[in-house]
């Protein structure tokens, strides 16, 4: 495991994010995690928040704006939303908010399932660098990271979450 220099501890940041969301999230809100990091976080937030918040998962590969230049991703998961999107209060969950392009794709995909009452955004890490007018409703931590690095959320075999930085190469800038 490479040293995660300068990055906050993922578990502590998740606890802080849940604390911020606990009183603010609508009682009937439904969580939608963006694969793969956001899906792990949505599962954990459903346990940490008070009340019952059903969880869905979304893979935005069919809605990405870099398809024309990069093609289809090698591995695409199945979007699974086990509730009606029409009229629902949705909290999108993602690991790292950067350019805002994944969130744009996720919002577009959600609207192909119905017209939600509202969509909020919860992210573990906001690293700035937006290329679209998108902001998170709930943020675990804000960090500054050089543009040639990616912030990656990993899940250990014991389900613990960890943050690391990797050279930004083929990984998409989310």
């Amino acid at each position: 495991m490479a040293p995660t220099s300068g990055l906050p501890d993922a578990e502590a940041t998740l606890a802080a994010l849940a604390e911020r969301m606990r009183c603010a999230v609508a009682i009937d809100a439904k969580l939608v995690g963006i694969y793969s990091g956001g899906a792990w976080l949505a599962d954990r937030l459903a346990e940490l928040l008070s009340g019952e918040h059903p969880v869905g998962y979304i893979d935005v590969s069919f809605y990405r704006d870099d398809y024309a230049t990069k093609g289809l991703r090698a591995k695409v998961e199945t979007t699974a939303l086990p509730f009606d999107i029409g009229g629902a209060r949705i909290v999108l969950v993602d690991d790292v908010l950067y350019t805002g392009r994944s969130v744009r794709a996720a919002i577009n995909e959600l609207f192909d399932y119905g017209r939600p009452e509202s969509i909020e955004l919860a992210v573990l890490i906001d690293r700035g660098g937006r290329e679209l007018p998108i902001e998170a409703t709930y943020v675990g931590a804000r960090v500054a990271v050089a543009r040639d690095l990616s912030v990656v959320l990993n899940r250990q075999p014991d389900a613990r979450l960890e943050l690391s930085v990797e050279p930004a190469g083929s990984a998409p800038r989310d």
């Binding site: 069919f62 093609g71 289809l72 199945t78 699974a80 029409g86 192909d112």
Partner: protein, 320 residues
């Protein structure tokens, strides 16, 4: 030898045949088709991947199911679809195949889905496009002569994997007219590449091609021994319109020996699935009780066919 389906980086750029296609390419198509299945269950049955692209369905030979499922697949990817039934237009006025292609390229085609009675016609188009440096245009073989029908082979593989999870340990029996069947040929190549230990061909000598054993297939002329213990039974259509001369005494005689009945199916594994590429001849190669019975996955094959074609199109269109 270079594979004309792959670009210099080994990525799929045309789909012409399953023969020689690397295992990881086949597995990627099957994996990518999984998330496309659920799009049919949504409010908006469309994703924007091929928005603004023009897909030309070029059918030089008649087909309803294949052409329709390709059309639905392209439309669910938001492409514009143009259907050309060329058997009754340009070629009857004397235009060559490649002139037809050049004209459609001049109309800004991005992808050709080609069915042709001549084996190799889709290859010829792909070579022509690459020779004239128009590599951004993709070709999908939708069935050429007796040669190949790769998307049908892929949807058969997808269906088998859906119900049986894994190809290792499977016995797959293909029954009937393998001689005229591009479907059987593509399926055999796919099954072998994915490591299926036992692929069987069952039929009369006159309807089995000579080279089957060299493809790793066990040949049976007796239906009962061929079906015994099978996990998957694939019935082929008796292609009477392709038969010249007397390969068979009669359709009734064929059904007696090689038609799938409930009694013969009882020899297969208790959880065996029955497949058929369609269109079926009820009472010729399969009895209605089996076609509509609990082992039959013939209609799911059609549904999966759309998802598999969406996967192929979206992988190709994303390859430069």
């Amino acid at each position: 030898m270079t594979n004309p389906q792959l670009n210099e980086r080994g990525e799929l750029t045309h789909l012409l045949t399953l023969e020689g296609l690397p295992e990881e390419v086949i597995r990627r198509i099957l994996d990518t088709a999984v998330p496309f299945v659920s799009i049919a269950e949504r409010d908006v049955k469309k994703v924007p991947l091929l928005r603004g692209k023009a897909v030309f369905n070029l059918f030089f030979e008649s087909s309803t199911r294949t052409r329709t499922t390709f059309e639905i697949a392209a439309k669910r990817l938001s492409a514009d679809v143009i259907n050309l039934n060329i058997g009754v237009s340009s070629t009857s006025k004397g235009e060559t195949l490649l002139d037809t292609i050049d004209n459609l390229v001049a109309m800004n085609a991005d992808m050709f889905v080609v069915r042709h009675a001549q084996s190799g016609a889709p290859h010829l188009i792909a070579q022509h496009l690459s020779r004239t440096d128009r590599r951004h245009i993709h070709v999908i073989n939708a069935g050429d002569g007796r040669h190949a029908h790769p998307t049908q082979g892929l949807l058969d593989l997808f269906t088998i994997r859906h119900y049986k999870k894994d190809f290792r340990g499977l016995t797959v029996a293909i029954v009937g007219d393998l001689l005229h069947s591009r479907v059987a040929r593509s399926l055999i190549h796919g099954l072998t590449t994915l490591g299926t230990p036992e692929v069987r061909a069952i039929g009369p000598q006159t309807l089995l091609p000579a080279a089957l054993e060299s493809l790793g297939v066990r040949v049976f002329h007796d239906m009962a021994s061929g079906v015994r213990g099978a996990d998957v039974v694939v019935m082929l259509r008796l292609q009477s319109e392709r038969m010249k001369g007397s390969l068979l005494p009669s359709a009734g005689e064929f059904f007696k020996h090689y038609g799938l009945t409930a009694e013969k199916l009882a020899l297969a594994k208790p959880d065996a699935i029955v497949m058929h590429p369609g269109p079926m001849n009820r009472g010729v190669e399969i009895e209605s009780a089996v076609a509509d019975g609990e082992h039959s996955v013939i209609l799911p094959q059609v549904t999966f066919g759309i998802a598999v074609r969406m996967a192929v199109m979206s992988i190709l269109a994303g390859t430069s």
